[in-house]
Symmetry: C2
Amino acid sequence: MNDLLIYCIPAFGVIALIFTFMKSSWVSKQDPGTPKMVGIAESIQEGAMSFLRAEYKVLAIFVACIAVLLVFGGLKSEDSSPLAAVSFVVGAFCSALAGYIGMKVATKANVRTTNAARESLGKGLGVAFAGGSVMGMGVVGLGVLGLGGLFAIFSNTFGHDERGIAQVMNIIAGFSFGASSIALFARVGGGIYTKAADVGADLVGKVEAGIPEDDPRNPGVIADNVGDNVGDVAGMGADLFESYVGSIIATMVLGAAFINMPEFANTNGMGAVMLPLLLAGLGIIASIIGTFFVRVKDGGSPHRALNTGELVAAAILLIGTFVLCKVMLPDSWTSIGGVAITPLKVFGAVIAGLVAGLGIGFITEHYTGTGTGPVKSIVRQSVTGSATNIIAGLGVGMISTAFPIIVLSGAILCAYEWAGLYGIAIAAVGMLSNTGIQLAVDAYGPISDNAGGIAEMSELPAEVRQRTDKLDAVGNTTAAIGKGFAIGSAALTALALFAAFKTTYEGAHAGEVLTIELTDPKVVAALLVGGMLPFLFSALSMQAVGRAAMAMIEEVRRQFRDIPALKAGLHAMNRNPGKPLAEWDEEDRATYEDAHGKAEYGECVEISTKASIKEMVRPGLLAVAAPVAVGFIGGPAMLGGLLAGVTVTGVLMALFQSNAGGAWDNAKKMIEEGFEVNGETLGKGSEAHKAAVVGDTVGDPFKDTSGPSLNILLKLMSVVALVIAPMI
Amino acid sequence: MNDLLIYCIPAFGVIALIFTFMKSSWVSKQDPGTPKMVGIAESIQEGAMSFLRAEYKVLAIFVACIAVLLVFGGLKSEDSSPLAAVSFVVGAFCSALAGYIGMKVATKANVRTTNAARESLGKGLGVAFAGGSVMGMGVVGLGVLGLGGLFAIFSNTFGHDERGIAQVMNIIAGFSFGASSIALFARVGGGIYTKAADVGADLVGKVEAGIPEDDPRNPGVIADNVGDNVGDVAGMGADLFESYVGSIIATMVLGAAFINMPEFANTNGMGAVMLPLLLAGLGIIASIIGTFFVRVKDGGSPHRALNTGELVAAAILLIGTFVLCKVMLPDSWTSIGGVAITPLKVFGAVIAGLVAGLGIGFITEHYTGTGTGPVKSIVRQSVTGSATNIIAGLGVGMISTAFPIIVLSGAILCAYEWAGLYGIAIAAVGMLSNTGIQLAVDAYGPISDNAGGIAEMSELPAEVRQRTDKLDAVGNTTAAIGKGFAIGSAALTALALFAAFKTTYEGAHAGEVLTIELTDPKVVAALLVGGMLPFLFSALSMQAVGRAAMAMIEEVRRQFRDIPALKAGLHAMNRNPGKPLAEWDEEDRATYEDAHGKAEYGECVEISTKASIKEMVRPGLLAVAAPVAVGFIGGPAMLGGLLAGVTVTGVLMALFQSNAGGAWDNAKKMIEEGFEVNGETLGKGSEAHKAAVVGDTVGDPFKDTSGPSLNILLKLMSVVALVIAPMI
């Protein structure tokens, strides 16, 4: 039975990919609308793809170098294997491919969402969500196919005994490392890109030149729309891909400890190793079924439609998980450390992960959502100026770390109490098993955002923009929840990888017990340095945004200066300050209309691409070099301290920055929507609004660059530790 | 020899107190100047003392409650003793008394500095520094007298064998707890007070009413000046008092492990226990000698004068420490954990602490000083508005954590390598042994700042204000260095206390080895929660400032509205916008002059006092309750994880916030002084200046409230753990 099961796993991946392909073809078949719309959409798609190409070029070199190092490192000791390099390359390829497919379809879905929204809200939702599910199902499909495939091949080669599986696990840890490498480029590079483009376009276009947002006369406008895809689709996708495969691999490593137990004879010892893969497979089926429940009629609530889909998937997962635990695990056994485990307890650990993920999401919404207490407090503090707005936002960000950490710690304690270290790892898998539909919902957001931009640029009727705005508003909420979820899953994955690191190290250094004692000052020193890294990493990525934005600003200024049509158009606008277009004199209007589409969007895209890829080198090197240096020089205990430090402050700083950014953003939105403070109705142009714009600008790199990048930092460092564990 | 030595220690304390008394009488004898100056100074002193009285009233209740709990806790097990309550009360009393004396003299020295500055710069420096040295020497004197006295009494009672000394150490750990309790109130309450008063006075006075800084027509102006004393004199003093006694006690606890070693027979086993006390005594002598070298002629540099004093003290300390190590310690012995220790190695550990303290100070100056690269980068980013100013400042704050952490970790590793856990604790003592002169220099800053304010309010000639400004400018630099030093010493003290906690726990639970393993998920969960506390604590104290400032703002507004003379004065001013006073018409000028001194300063002081004491309850309870709850419910390993978490993120957040705040402050100063960016000379009123004011306002609670409060949080939690160690 067992061998057959092993070959079944990749089949789940194939099912997901078939679904991906079907959705993708369906999206392509939708009508993209007017020629103007098609033109704009093509520019965005071209920009996004050219970013990916440029990124993947650098990545290819990076991957090749690391692969060579892994081959040499693998030859060094008999517990490591040069084949880890193969897994590494496959992991990188799968993640990159998932990103490519997801972006390609997302940049098709955006314009088709706009066009569908010309008919109805429901149709718009349908297209946007279909586009998002390509990203979601692509990620889980390629993750399960790649990981399951490698496991099937290598376990066939090395055998299913303890020694063989240990070898296999050392090798396929490389898959996770490959995924992390892509995530580093996609999240950090993408994060820098998206904010550099956003700030550049806004600062010169909106503030200096005074043209509206999403106006096609702004040379940076396409780069800005590309940025949404690069950061929120590809970046988020790579981030969750990394968590997804990382948590599965860590659980497999820890499950391998039970192989020789007589209780596991039923499954040839493999029950606990196979369980995370099967849960992932189950998640694929649940997600696919869930997508069918995402539908809305005009006047209905897109938010509820997305929720229904997620709930259905969660329900299926719940029942399925219970069955799988019962089938794959013995009635009871005793884990290392003396924890007595039963299938029900493992099921409990999975639930703990699921609940923690949802819990962190909801807490995030509480601290960042429009109309919530904390966001209102920022709005009220905006009335007294930017300084109080900033202080209030920083305060909300800091305080918002408390409950997520308590929920996370609670889940850790429960999962450990019930099922030992294995419980913690399987809790991470539980949190992530619904990644398919979760990511579909996440990616739906930027697609809707883009759809709105396209509606604006193609000058469609106001009702279309209203519909896309409605879709987009839901996207903002789901984005906030998604960010909280991504942080929570990163933390749990990092912990699972940390436990796997210890197990792998001990397995490779027979008989040695790795103690990482907090009363050992070496560990404390490493803990301090590790804790400092997220601060340094955040600062480096924020400074990178600043420099990249500067390059962008100069290019936009140059175009306004050097392109005659644009320059004339701006002059025409300045001759008619505040007047609606219809009241301008004939000639000015003609000049203004003529400037439409005359900007060299490609130049801006290229500059932003180059700057962001150049700027991510330093933080990227830091993330890879730190664990390698500490591991080889200071030894495994110090490396453990380093990982613990980076995990603790990484999670905290990610929550702090993401939530502060989200809260500032929505405080600005509330003011724009005319919230009342002390009887005075606020609105665009009020002093409070100016203060809120400052907060929002500060929050942008927080929530879209430095905050999310930390997810990658902590996972990447843990996975590097896991990979080098047999070598140090 | 040994018994005699024990009784010598308190004598060092007495010497320091005699010196304190002499300096204090000398200050009192100086001429306070004109009746107007005396009046203003009296208001400030009255306000400061009324704050202390109000604070000490609440403190008395708090101390009484904790003392009762300690009596009951001490009766619970035979390793703990109800006498710890006595030490606790004595510790609290000594710290409170040091604060009282320091504040009393500082608020005498301020006006006398102003008056001396009417004669010359050198005389001004002399008075200000004399005032500061009362705080400095009072702290070390009462610390050494109290601690040395208790040790002499209790060691006489319980005997000098291992069991007796263990009892004594458990008892006098309470002294450190007492000091921490005062520090909590002084630093957190004082921090809230000073910023609430500052923001309240500035926002209504400067921004709304448009009157200049330090103008006597502003009802909040006295409260603002009181705040400088409350926060920077009493708060800083209590903070360093806590570090000072905490590091000494921790070293004594760890030194007690060597009592039974035959190598220590020379000193009846007490060499390592007595060494930190003797180092403190040596530091007192060194500091006193150092103060004689602080003198400057007119035209000379006050900065160099202060540096000379500190260098002389450091040199004496260096030589003396070497001799003490040679005399008190055997030629070589082997510590627990197998570290072979020699006197030279212990000397090395002391030096590591000293160098780290200085190193962190200089790094802090690099990131926050006027004219340095990082501060210039903030200035340049101010040209594009408040948002970029804020982002740049946050970036500088985050990046500024890197080198201090590396220096600190380096010192930890060296000290441990050379002399084991004892080395780490003695390194903390080394860092702090010069506290006497260090704190004198720190307290000199706010005295000079006050002196400037008094010169302004008493309308003295411009040259006097110029001289006090020169004194004050040096004070800003020393304040930044002092803050870095306070954070570094807090971190090292917390680690030393952490090691003492483990030792004490193991001593009280005979045979049990306390392992705090990072691979134990319970420890990791506690580490996460501990890491979160500094974020929560910072947010709570920032929000407290906001609310307290609001109360203050309302009071200032009320006075402008309800006091006829003030209202008329403001109207007169508004009738002559921008005109120098000499050009106003007779009647307006008379009305304006008449408003002078009509504000009810006392009301503002009282409101600020009440609000700050009320607001510090929540963060204070958090700091005490968290370790108690985790210790009794989760056990010692989880408590260890909690402490490690709070130490790591506490140090990082303290550095981040203090340095960001300092950098913003000086960026604003550089703009005011006319720094050039892209050929454009900036200055007051420029757009860049407006942006920098926002940054400075955000930085104020960062650097004066939430940042420094974290020093207390991490030490207090460690000391609570140490005290409850025998009970859990």
